[in-house]
């Protein structure tokens, strides 16, 4: 049997520079390596800077999910400084993050992902002509609507923060803005526009309310059959075409999923602490292990990074991110037996390598763990069980399913603002350590900060793509995308669109794979153990 090695540089249409090496036997990928090819050193830049420098710098880690970085940076300082965050400010931060994700979903689906359905590989599919009509780059009917309207939700961000991307309107102790009634009513109309011009007529082919009745695999299948409007909506069409071309047959990944939880509750997290976080978010944190079908809570103390296969001179141990010292290797030649990526291998001390992202969030949302008042949704878990596991196709559905829930949360924020109450309570700056976490559109994001002598001693980030695109760890275990690539059929090695499908199904964002750190002692780390 001959093994063909394919080096793809770049994969493209993921954010940032992703290279992939795959080994192919008999038309299937049997081994894979993912390589992040850019180092920018934000963690090095932040050392010694103003405590609030992260509010300016970290959103610039990623222009796609800057609001998520800003949110993390703010919550990290909130916990370090022991602030009080007014209810309005929690809602205003959440709203900013939500609308950024609402932007990301259609922009990702049409701009980065669905174009591949027009690849010549699928020309014999009965769906092909219609796919081309809808999804062709720039000219496709749905592409044009979807990519253009993706700019609408972030108009709401601009009402709060002046612009999107790259506002720093969230600060420890609250937000800089104080929206007026005009801002709120304008935001409502922008949301309505997004719903009535894309979500309902184009994406769902039905009302939000009808879609929200779907709770299980059977409900979803019945929904598709119920009306031509459903079957021919972009969701219905994509689902049917994906099954026809086999997108449900590969890209499974590691079968274990994590989320930090997100959207702090406006009444339960006004005096934020690291320890109090899990009980104070609306969308609960957790790990779902599909092999044992169990859900547990996620804590930041469970995270470990390993750099043995990364271009850092930082040893071979699994260490908590607080203990890292960012030491980029001067030489970054590709050595697939040793180091081959700027990403690190992130793992959970018990569960090992985990997938993160909107699909992972939905798998966790189907758990009965967490607080009684936290969000529960068993739909995607039901799909997972009925379809016998994960795939590219299900990963997309998880992402798109979240859209409707985020829309409702945005409405909630607008409804709950009390315009005459405070938006900011000036905090007292002090030294200390903080941790902020959230969920960017593409997965779990967190920042650790340590302040000493009135400046940043240590700042570090573990981004969603660090989890997903990481290289092998010290045991040689593949990262989630590497694992998901194994088993992928390759129809034409000169145009390996399937590798693109798998990599893009994670909505990878390579610009985010940055890290930060300074060496810490074991005792100090113990302060962060909440178990």
């Amino acid at each position: 049997m001959t093994t063909q090695t394919l080096d793809i540089s770049p994969v493209g249409r993921v954010e940032g520079d992703l290279d992939v090496r795959v080994e192919i036997e008999d038309g299937y990928v049997v081994n894979a390596w993912t390589q992040a090819e850019l180092f920018r050193g934000f963690e090095v830049i932040l050392r010694g800077k103003d405590p609030q420098a992260g509010l300016i710098v970290t959103p610039r880690i990623c222009g796609i999910c800057g609001a998520s970085h800003l949110s993390c940076a703010s919550w990290a300082l909130d916990t370090a400084w022991g602030t009080e965050v007014p209810r309005n400010a929690i809602l205003a931060r959440n709203l900013g993050q939500i609308v950024e994700s609402l932007q990301s979903i259609p922009r990702y689906f049409y701009g980065l992902y669905a174009i591949d359905l027009t690849n010549k590989k699928y020309q014999n599919s009965p769906f092909y002509e219609e796919a081309t009509r809808r999804f062709a780059a720039f000219t496709g009917k749905s592409y044009e609507i979807g990519v253009t309207i993706s700019g609408s939700p972030v108009q709401i961000y601009a009402l709060l923060g002046g612009q999107w991307p790259h506002s720093s309107y969230m600060v420890p102790g609250g937000v800089m803005c104080a929206p007026t009634l005009t801002d709120v009513t304008r935001a409502w109309s922008i949301l309505e526009y997004f719903r009535t011009n894309w979500i309902e007529p184009v994406w769902l082919g039905c009302s939000l309310e009808r879609y929200e009745q779907i709770k299980t695999y059977d409900d979803f299948m019945a929904w598709i059959d119920e009306s031509p409007n459903h079957a021919n909506s972009d969701l219905g069409f994509y689902w049917r075409m994906g099954l026809d071309i086999g997108l449900d047959k590969y890209g499974a990944g590691v079968g274990k999923y994590m989320t930090w939880g997100y959207l702090p509750h406006e009444d339960k997290y006004q005096k934020p602490t690291i320890e109090g976080r899990n009980a104070a978010t609306i969308m609960k944190s957790g790990v779902y292990d599909s092999f044992s079908d169990t859900h547990t809570l996620m804590e930041h103390t469970f995270a470990r990074e390993n750099t043995i296969h990364s271009w850092y001179d930082e040893g071979t141990e699994n260490i908590h991110p607080f203990d890292r010292t960012t030491q980029p290797s001067p030489k970054n030649t590709k050595d697939f037996n040793n180091a081959y990526s700027w990403a690190t291998a992130v793992s959970h001390i018990e569960y090992g390598r985990l997938e993160t992202g909107p699909f992972a969030r939905q798998m966790v949302a189907g758990g009965k763990h967490g607080e009684s008042w936290q969000h529960y949704d068993g739909f995607i878990l039901s799909m997972f069980k009925a379809m016998g596991g994960a795939s590219i196709h299900l990963r997309q559905l998880g992402r798109m399913h979240e859209l409707v829930k985020l829309y409702r949360q945005a409405e909630h924020c607008l409804r709950e603002f009390r315009l005459n109450d405070p938006w900011y309570i000036k905090p007292q700056e002090k030294d200390g350590r903080g941790w902020g976490a959230t969920e960017a559109a593409r997965g779990a994001l967190c920042h650790w900060v340590e302040l000493e002598g009135g400046k940043i001693k240590n700042y570090q980030v573990v981004a969603p793509t660090t989890w997903n695109v990481g290289p092998r760890d010290s045991q040689g275990i593949r990262g989630p995308i590497e694992e998901a690539l194994v088993g992928t059929p390759i129809y034409d090695p000169t145009d390996p669109v399937e590798v693109g499908h798998v990599a893009r199904s994670f909505d990878s964002c390579l610009v985010c794979t940055v890290h930060a750190h300074d060496r810490k002692t074991g005792e100090e780390l113990a302060r962060f153990r909440t178990a």
Partner: protein
């Protein structure tokens, strides 16, 4: 018809995301109505791997005419001037850039990273990043002081972190529709049409600026952000309050101090402790004043303005 190739160096994709928010024209309109042919873009292009490498080589060889090269992100030179920390299509990005810039009719630097070096070039600049033709205010940059693209123009700088989508699309439209001759560039190669006036021009808090009424804390619907919160609006060249962001607002309108992100010095003071969101003052007077005003005149103006300030400057002016 203009072939556009858009590449990213040390970038966050923020300028791409900003570009995708464009509305007049939209990105799709730009392509279908203005004859812009996007050869490739990291977030939007179709080719991957060796097919893309071939396309890039064809541009360099002139087999595919390259009308406009758009570059987003810094030029990464680390480690030791090799650029290996930013490899792209199997080669250091700076080598592609060097070859492609010679083939392009116009070279457009989009965003602070590509113009001045931006955040990645902040001390200690771990990636040895440069802008295309500047590093901060210092002319030269990666392509050198004397670089001119085939059209005879230097790199057209569209700074901002990110650049406003209209600034980007309107320059592309100007080139594609043959109006580039109307563009005048300032000494930093910025189109004056966007960068002659100040961020403050059009700010809704100008009336508070005039009466020296301050917003001493965040979360206020009144007060100027210049006196206490470090706003750089009076000193920054941009059209943020004339051509609104996302069509609805600007940072200063929303209550966020301008960070001066279209200027080469951004982030100012290299983010040293005590400089973020705080006005640097000397005996209570801002150390940096709007250009052209003398400190003595400013002090006189302050006394007069404070005496004349009407009561409503302390009220919620943009009220619920």
């Amino acid at each position: 018809m203009a072939n556009v190739l858009w590449l990213q160096g040390g970038a966050c994709s923020g300028n791409t995301m900003s570009f995708l928010n464009a509305q007049e024209p939209t990105v799709c309109d730009l392509i279908s109505d203005f004859g812009i042919n996007l050869l490739w873009h990291p977030s939007l292009g179709m080719e991957l791997g060796s097919n893309l490498q071939q396309l890039l080589r064809d541009c360099i060889l002139g087999n595919i005419p390259l009308d406009i090269l758009v570059f987003e992100g810094t030029v990464v030179n680390a480690p030791n001037g090799t650029g290996e920390w930013n490899r792209f299509a199997d080669r250091p990005m700076k080598e592609w850039l060097s070859d492609l810039s010679k083939a392009a009719n116009f070279v457009v630097a989009v965003g602070d990273c590509a113009t001045w070096g931006g955040i990645p070039a902040t001390a200690p600049n771990p990636t040895q990043s440069q802008g295309l033709q500047f590093l901060k205010r210092q002319e030269g940059g990666f392509l050198g002081k004397d670089f001119r693209s085939k059209s005879g123009l230097p790199v057209i700088n569209i700074p901002g972190c990110p650049a406003h989508p209209d600034w980007i699309t309107q320059i592309l439209v100007a080139i594609a529709t043959g109006r580039i001759g109307d563009i005048t560039l300032d000494e930093l190669h910025r189109p004056q049409t966007f960068f002659k006036s100040f961020t403050q021009t059009g700010c809704t808090r100008n009336i508070h600026f005039a009466y020296k009424a301050t917003a001493a804390e965040f979360g206020q619907r009144r007060g100027c952000l210049f006196y206490d919160l470090g706003c750089r609006g009076p000193m920054t060249h941009s059209s943020c309050n004339r051509i609104l962001w996302n069509r609805v607002s600007s940072k200063t309108r929303a209550g966020m101090p301008c960070l001066g992100c279209t200027e080469p010095e951004f982030p100012f003071f290299d983010l040293k402790p005590g400089t973020v969101f705080k006005t640097q003052t000397l005996m209570g007077t801002p150390k940096e004043l709007p250009p052209g005003i003398k400190a003595k005149d400013y002090a006189l103006l302050t006394v007069a303005a404070k005496n004349a300030a009407p009561n409503w400057t302390e009220e919620d002016i943009f009220t619920v």
